[in-house]
């Protein structure tokens, strides 16, 4: 069974953390992953940096730009992650835009992910229908879970369609926004969380975008299986560097810090 599915079967709310590979320094990738696992993070999204990240706000954009300046490439990332499964057990997902994956070759990329011990992919600009018509068999061949997004504007029919072709979790974007927007949820968002929770989808949902602290994490996980934090963690890395990585998940998971 894929590590993501195993994790989703655990009877607990999940904390997933995103970071951009190659940031703040080129070779921080492995130690960030190890530190996050040690401090109780359930799942990690490793961002493959891209020059033109359309769905990201200023924080993740800046980290991607810096990572590319630092020399991060697709090949370099796979090299860094070569032995990651000797020390890390939690599910690892690569989040990246489609063009770098297309240039690497979709099948070659999936194969490499599987050899490295990557469990899933999030590719925001690979549309659901293109995946379904062209790439699904490749992902399945390498036992990779492809994660799709839904937003408050996604129609009910489309949510059902996305649910039907997903086999892990659904990434629920908390509001109509790019990453790193304001934190805390209003009534409109809570209603959206409730509406989706009541749909009884076959895939559990994990909420992302706009979660930055213990409060927003608790709010989101009241209605969903878990929550994903990205920009707030990148800011933590910018301010504190890598050595205090663990402080961040500790603060999210425990009210007292």
């Amino acid at each position: 069974m894929n590590r993501i599915n195993k994790k989703l079967n655990e009877n607990k709310k999940l904390l997933s953390i995103y970071f951009t590979a190659g940031y703040p320094n080129l070779d921080d990738t492995v130690s960030i992953i190890q530190n996050l696992e040690k401090s109780g993070v359930d799942m990690i999204e490793i961002g493959l940096p891209f020059s033109d990240p359309l769905a990201d706000g200023p924080t993740i954009q800046a980290s991607s730009t810096q990572a590319l300046i630092n020399g991060m490439t697709t090949e370099a990332l796979f090299k860094q992650l070569k032995d990651i499964r000797k020390t890390v057990n939690i599910p690892l997902i690569i989040m990246g835009y489609f063009n770098p994956i297309l240039q690497y070759g979709v099948e070659a990329f999936c194969k490499k992910c599987s050899e490295t011990g990557i469990d899933g992919l999030i590719i925001p600009d690979l549309p659901v229908n293109v995946y379904n018509e062209q790439y699904k068999p490749i992902f399945e061949k390498y036992d990779l879970i492809n994660v799709f997004l839904i937003t408050p504007q996604t129609s009910i029919e489309r949510i059902h369609f996305i649910d039907s072709i997903s086999n892990g979790f659904i990434y629920m974007v908390s509001s109509a926004s790019v990453t790193g927007s304001s934190s805390g949820f209003g009534e409109e968002q809570i209603n959206y969380f409730k509406r989706i929770a009541n749909m009884n989808l076959k895939n559990p949902q994990i909420i992302g975008f706009g979660i930055s602290d213990h409060n927003s994490f608790t709010q989101a996980t009241t209605y969903a299986k878990g929550a994903i934090i990205g920009s707030a963690f990148i800011k933590h890395l910018s301010n504190n560097g890598v050595k205090d990585t663990a402080d961040f998940p500790n603060a999210i998971l425990n009210q007292l810090t």
Partner: protein, 393 residues
């Protein structure tokens, strides 16, 4: 083979809509409605009336006698430079503002490089009384100050794009992010035949008035409805798409697309996407784009801000790959020389983008009886500073 779009939104293997789910509702709404709206008689009527009375269409098809004599062939200039706001860009913004109104949108966003599309968008927003926000790279704001001022006078808010390389591609990224953040009340007026389906097709249709006019205008001059060649410069490809549109399937009409070679195709400072680009995804479209081996999008260079785009529309990627159009690249110096030549021979100061198209007559021989129609996409007023610096005027 067809050279136009298929029902799935592709030109051959190029096109599609590679967009994040956050954009899906906006783009899907447009996809489902654009053809229906464009076919409504009331839309047609309003669009055509504005093109006539506001833009000043039809733009003349002018036989350039002295230019023709010099190159010993028959050269006609399609005078898009005489349109209101000085370029072909307004054909598209008139169409899209009417589309936005029909879709009930209240807020308009756009990207701009040189500022021509920004000005054309600000103009139609003023005309219709809609809020207008234009994203422009920080570097372009500095080098295109007069157009920034024009947009402000027209009531638009110009927002500086400070991400990435701070030019057109980043302004486009910022506009797309704005659209993600404002999914309900906002329409994004893209300035060329780029972006996710249905944009390339919609913009091409709005620009297609250019080749429609060429067909009947040519008959008045030459007793034929089709030229031997149509020539146009290509940034994203909208003036070329408009000039080619009604000749796409008629292979007796040869199409020439002219890209900016900058300091030379091999100089590392160029915008000749067909030569330097590879297939990939940019701004939601599968097309040819300039990128590293690792799939990172690279910065193009051209003296002309309107040709300074690392991709090309999917229609043109298909025209290139299929061999339907001939692609030529013209350096900064060749374009500047051709621009000045048109001033001296015909009394017309062309936009530097259009000068790239004009420069092919030094590179390629035509027969004396060939009828060559060239899209003079814009006037040179916006480029005076560049001309002044280049020629030390």
């Amino acid at each position: 083979m067809t050279y136009n779009i298929n029902e799935k939104g592709y030109y051959g293997e190029f096109g599609g809509a590679y967009i994040p789910e956050m954009l899906y509702p906006n783009v899907e709404e447009l996809r489902q409605n654009y053809l229906k709206v464009m076919k409504e008689p009331s839309f047609q009527k309003e669009f055509n009336l504005l093109l006539k009375d506001y833009v000043g269409r039809p733009s003349p098809l002018y036989f350039a006698k002295r230019l023709s004599e010099k190159y010993n062939t028959k050269i006609y200039l399609k005078r898009e430079d005489l349109n209101h706001t000085g370029a072909h860009k307004i054909n598209n913004t008139i169409g899209q503002i009417l589309m936005a109104q029909r879709l009930g949108k209240k807020r308009i966003i756009a990207e701009t490089g040189a500022g021509q599309h920004g000005v054309a968008t600000a103009t139609v927003c003023a005309l219709m009384g809609l809020e207008c926000i234009v994203y422009m790279g920080e570097i372009d704001i500095a080098r295109q100050a007069p157009n920034v001022a024009r947009m402000k006078m027209l009531g638009a808010t110009v927002i500086s794009a400070k991400s990435g390389s701070k030019t057109l591609k980043d302004a486009t990224n910022e506009a797309i992010r704005d659209w993600i953040n404002n999914p309900v009340d906002t329409h994004y007026i893209i300035g060329s035949v780029v972006g996710p389906h249905p944009y390339p097709d919609m913009v091409a249709r709005f620009q297609s008035v250019v080749s429609k006019e060429i067909q009947w205008q040519l008959k008045e001059h030459e007793d034929k409805t089709k030229p031997d060649y149509v020539v146009a410069c290509v940034g994203g490809g909208s003036n070329a798409a408009g000039a080619f549109y009604h000749f796409l399937e008629d292979t007796e009409v040869k199409l020439i697309a002219v890209e900016a070679a900058g300091h030379g195709v091999d100089s590392g400072e160029s915008a000749a996407t067909s030569v330097l680009g590879k297939e990939g995804i940019i701004h939601g479209s599968k097309t040819l784009l300039m990128q590293t081996n690792d799939g990172q999008i690279t910065e193009p260079y051209s003296i002309s801000a309107g040709l300074d785009y690392p991709g090309v529309g999917p229609m043109h990627a298909h025209l290139y790959k299929s061999g339907r159009a001939e692609f030529m690249s013209i350096t900064d110096d060749q374009a500047m020389t051709a621009g000045l030549e048109l001033c001296k021979l015909e009394g017309i100061i062309p936009a530097i983008e259009s000068s790239h198209a004009l420069a092919i007559f030094e590179q390629k021989k035509f027969k004396p009886e060939d009828v060559v129609v060239l899209s003079l996409s814009g006037r040179g007023d916006k480029d005076l500073n560049t001309y002044i610096n280049y020629y030390k005027l």
